[in-house]
């Protein structure tokens, strides 16, 4: 049996399972948001993810996060195996994120993420928070704040992040290809974290098409100015650096191809050459103009 799911169905299930009053605080991000946005063109069997990454907004809404988690648990949502409480808030690296299956199915789980503060400097910050049975954490990814711009609304009413903002967040999160690997395997292969995330950027660009990615520039500019008012210029200049490195790194690019081949671009037969030129187009059409508009010069 296929382990892939139609993103439309997943969105409908989440909208059905999540209490209506909590939904305005939830923004779906990650691969599920991307797959839903491109639901008409991705593989007809859907996507392989079960992970519904949900950012709880607004920023600093710790009480809302606690209320949402408490409500879900009281409604019968079930903790995943690795989602267990700790007795103390320290050390924070020992705390587990909140990952819950809905009461009636194991088809998906939600993972709660915090919406980052404007001033957050760390790439990822682990925010301790307490539930009735102990301490957990909320991961807060610095650049996911961009997902609050131009968000979209699904047919079910749920909010999800725009693909261009997911792309920019991933570009900024990986200024280098680096050596950090994913903890698990994707499609029976160990991958670099950057290859997976930058591969998703390439998949989003490929699915959007060249005319569409040119239109990302003004949205990116506005989002960077609002989200990172002090650093928008520097970030615009460095946003393409990791992608450039990826395109020059055969091994990493092949990993990116593998990641998209089992993910958003499954069944499309996309090659590393296709991805390389998609990346070069994105650099020429979007990242370079962004650097010129915000940074006043060519990107590095």
């Amino acid at each position: 049996m296929s382990d892939r799911l139609d993103p439309r169905l997943l969105f409908e299930m989440i909208a059905h399972d999540l209490p209506v009053e909590l939904q305005p605080h939830v923004l779906v991000v990650g691969s599920l948001a991307a797959a839903y946005h491109f639901r008409e063109v991705i593989h007809r069997d859907g996507i392989a993810t079960k992970d519904a990454d949900c950012v709880i907004h607004p920023a600093g809404a710790l009480k809302e996060c606690q209320a949402i988690a408490t409500r879900l648990l009281s409604d019968g949502w079930r903790r995943l195996e690795d989602c267990s409480p700790r007795a103390q808030p320290e050390p924070v690296t020992e705390l587990r994120a909140v990952r819950l299956n809905p009461p009636s199915t194991d088809a998906y789980f939600v993972e709660l993420l915090a919406f980052p503060d404007v001033g957050q400097k760390e790439a990822v910050k682990w925010i301790p928070f307490e539930l009735a049975d102990g301490w957990y954490c909320l991961p807060s990814f610095r650049y996911l704040g961009l997902a609050g711009h131009d968000w979209k609304q699904a047919e079910s009413g749920l909010h999800y992040a725009a693909p261009e903002m997911l792309a920019l967040a991933n570009l900024l999160a990986h200024p280098r290809v680096g050596t950090k690997e994913m903890s698990g395997e994707i499609g029976n292969r160990k991958l670099l974290r950057s290859a997976k995330d930058l591969g998703r950027v390439l998949a989003l660009a490929w699915l959007t098409g060249r005319r569409g990615t040119e239109a990302w520039v003004p949205s990116w500019e506005e989002a960077l100015r609002e989200t990172f008012p002090e650093e928008s210029s520097a970030l615009s200049l460095s946003a393409g650096s990791g992608l450039r490195e990826l395109l020059d790194d055969e091994l990493a690019l092949d990993q990116a191809r593998h990641a998209v081949d089992v993910g958003l671009l499954a069944g499309k037969g996309v090659t590393t050459e296709n991805l390389r030129v998609t990346g070069q187009r994105l650099l020429d059409d979007a990242l370079q103009p962004l650097a010129e508009r915000l940074g006043g010069r060519a990107s590095s």
Binding site: W206, R210, V277, T278, Q280, R281
Partner: protein, 392 residues
């Protein structure tokens, strides 16, 4: 003198066949249907078929040939494939009839057609080459007239001079440049050009111009109104056919495909050409055809054709779109085709509607044939000539 040796006869047939094949090779390609005699040709758009007969010795032969031709328009019971098939718009018999009078030939042809199912005669045509001249049925059909011209020059056993000229023309880049200047002048309905003007426009030496003009004159494609002026008599279909075979070499053509894995987007590419290509790059192909003939009969844009004086276009092509790469021989659907032009620019200058120069009509015509838009190419010539007439 006794009868010629069978091998000589076979060689003579082969020469005539080669000559006819070369003459019609622009719009027609050989198509061997598997019959016991004769050779067939199919138009490149698959709409018209030619059945070629080197000799009809009497009216019985003509009757048999006409029936054979009519059969090409019908499916063959019991066979999976018919050689030509019922989808053909027209089947044309091209035959050398020797000393039979053209009047008698036409009479017999009409008699056979009268015996056929009424659907068939409008789809049958006849080109006869006889000692006394040529005839076509129906008359006043431009395509048949051109075929008669080709057939007379190649099938008539006495037309050795014309055949020799057909066989010995060697197309160098210089000769091609001279030919293009003559073609542009003809399409523009210019008066015959001074040889010095041809040399200036083609950037060729006077001896090169003179040699090329002489070759074309021997083929009856060029007329010289005085010792110093020359112009094409009509669309030079014979040389056009030869040039189309060699066009990629003569035009320094490089074809580019889209390596992104997406369906190519020629409209978007055209927008980028207009925004980013060097100012000297002239837009050709379908875009230019529409510029010259606004009612040009084609929906959409199959690809972008440009001509440039630069020998190496790779640097600005990469700036247009990093996904563009030269096509392999197996890749038949380029999105961008770049032609190198050596001679001066007869292009139309930029305009508010078209920020780049527009390639000359002769370049555009070759682009259309290269795109296999044969009917549109022929219409392009007709409309352009008529348009120029209106302006004269």
């Amino acid at each position: 003198m006794g009868p010629s040796h069978p091998l000589d006869q076979r060689h003579a047939l082969s020469v005539r066949l080669d000559a006819f094949t070369a003459a019609v090779s622009g719009p027609y390609r050989p198509f061997r249907g598997g019959r016991d005699e004769g050779y067939d040709f199919l138009s490149r758009d698959g709409q018209q078929a030619l059945v070629l007969k080197f000799a009809l010795h009497g009216v019985r032969d003509l009757h048999a040939a006409a029936i054979q031709l009519a059969l090409q328009l019908l499916p063959r019971p019991g066979l999976w494939e018919t050689p030509l098939g019922p989808g053909l718009r027209r089947a044309i018999l091209v035959a050398y009839v020797g000393r039979i009078s053209l009047g008698r030939i036409q009479e017999e042809w009409e008699r056979v057609l009268g015996a056929l199912h009424p659907d068939l005669p409008p789809r049958l045509a006849f080109v006869a080459v006889a000692v006394e001249g040529v005839a076509t049925v129906p008359q006043n059909d431009e395509e048949l007239g051109w075929l008669a011209h080709c057939a007379r020059a190649s099938l008539d056993p006495d037309a050795r001079t014309r055949r020799r000229a057909l066989q010995t023309m060697t197309w160098t880049e210089k000769a091609f440049d001279v030919w293009m200047v003559l073609l542009d002048a003809w399409l523009g309905r210019e008066a015959p050009l001074l040889m010095s003007e041809i040399a200036r426009r083609s950037r060729c030496s006077t001896p090169t111009v003179a040699a090329t003009v002489r070759h074309l004159e021997e083929r009856n494609e060029v007329s010289r109104t005085s010792a110093r002026r020359a112009g094409l008599r009509a669309l030079p279909r014979g040389s056009l056919g030869e040039i189309l075979v060699l066009a990629d070499h003569l035009r320094g053509t490089v074809r580019y495909v889209d390596g992104s894995g997406h369906r190519p987007d020629p409209e978007d590419l055209l927008r980028r050409v207009r925004a980013k290509a060097p100012a000297s790059v002239a837009v050709g192909g379908v875009v230019a055809a529409r510029h010259y003939v606004p009612a040009f009969d084609l929906n959409g844009l199959p690809r972008v054709d440009v001509t440039t004086l630069e020998q190496d276009a790779s640097s600005w092509v990469a700036r247009l779109d990093p996904a563009l790469r030269p096509a392999t021989p197996q890749e038949r659907s380029p999105v961008l085709v770049v032609h190198h032009r050596r001679r001066g620019a007869p292009d139309e200058p930029p305009s508010p509607r078209e920020p780049h120069p527009v390639a000359s009509p002769a370049e555009v015509l070759l682009d259309l044939y290269d795109l296999r838009l044969t009917e549109q190419a022929d219409d392009f010539v007709q409309v352009l000539r008529r348009k120029r007439d209106d302006h004269v």
